[in-house]
């Protein structure tokens, strides 16, 4: 039950920061330049660039073709992988507890059916 591979770790680390999540949410609405991305935040453009570098290294964003504007765009694939991984873990506990539901049901049915049966 450990995260497999370096990629997922990098994705989680990149997503741990609220500014970076906000950048991704903005990019989900369409590609944007660095200055467009910096506009809603009360932080400097170099600080935004640093966040963008982290996101880029994690494969969560890429740069568009336009050489002048260098717009950033969202790369949804690693995000999907991370979401799927989280879901897998949650399902693990849910499945385990569904097993317990079933067992508790059986045990109660046994108790009702046989007198003094014991385990």
């Amino acid at each position: 039950m450990k995260p497999s591979g370096y990629g997922l770790d990098t994705t989680f680390a990149a997503l741990a920061d609220p500014t970076r999540r906000a950048i991704l949410a903005r990019l989900a609405a369409g590609e944007a330049t660095v200055s467009e991305l910096a506009a809603p935040f009360d932080i400097s453009q170099p600080a935004i660039s640093k966040h963008l570098k982290v996101l880029e290294r994690a494969g969560l964003i890429s740069r568009g073709r336009d050489q002048q504007r260098r717009p950033r765009r969202l790369e949804p694939r690693p995000l999907r992988a991370a979401t799927e991984w989280l879901e897998t873990y949650r399902e693990f506990w849910e499945e385990r507890y569904r097993n317990l539901d079933a067992l508790l049901g059986e045990l109660q049915a046994d108790e009702g059916g046989t007198q003094g049966g014991g385990l």
Binding site: K2, R21, W93, D101
Partner: protein
Amino acid sequence: MTLHVTTPTDRTIVMSRRFAAPRPLVFDAWTQPELLRRWYGAKGWTLVECEVDLRVDGAWRFVSEGPEGARMGQRGVYREVDPPRRLVFTELFDDQSYPGVALVTHDFVAEKPSATTITSTILYPSPEARDIVLRYPMRRGVAEAYERLDEVLTGTNQKGTS
């Protein structure tokens, strides 16, 4: 029956889940090896070794076998045994990637004669240890952030952009 996961402090994870069974039975399911073997495995994992010395300072040991022969061992010592209300034990995985042991507390609350809620509090030796574990599964904030992001993604994919 929903599984709730929260992180009330930087060293803890709390999970809570309701079961349609009387409290003594739910407590037994967590403490009797013959019952544990019947439900503890999930997603291709099976509990193949299960030793329980159910008393304060008594040891427990679980070994699970998973897909492609993978093995996962965990062990600990019971700190508090108060059937059917409370069970407290230490937990250490054979190949865990952080130092120290976690302390697990299961509180069994009888909602009705036939309904029991288990609240499990896992206290990690350090915030770092908890964060290593949280990187795997259940940091609620992150999970929720993903969900929000997912909503944004699916919403805007359909709308397109101007």
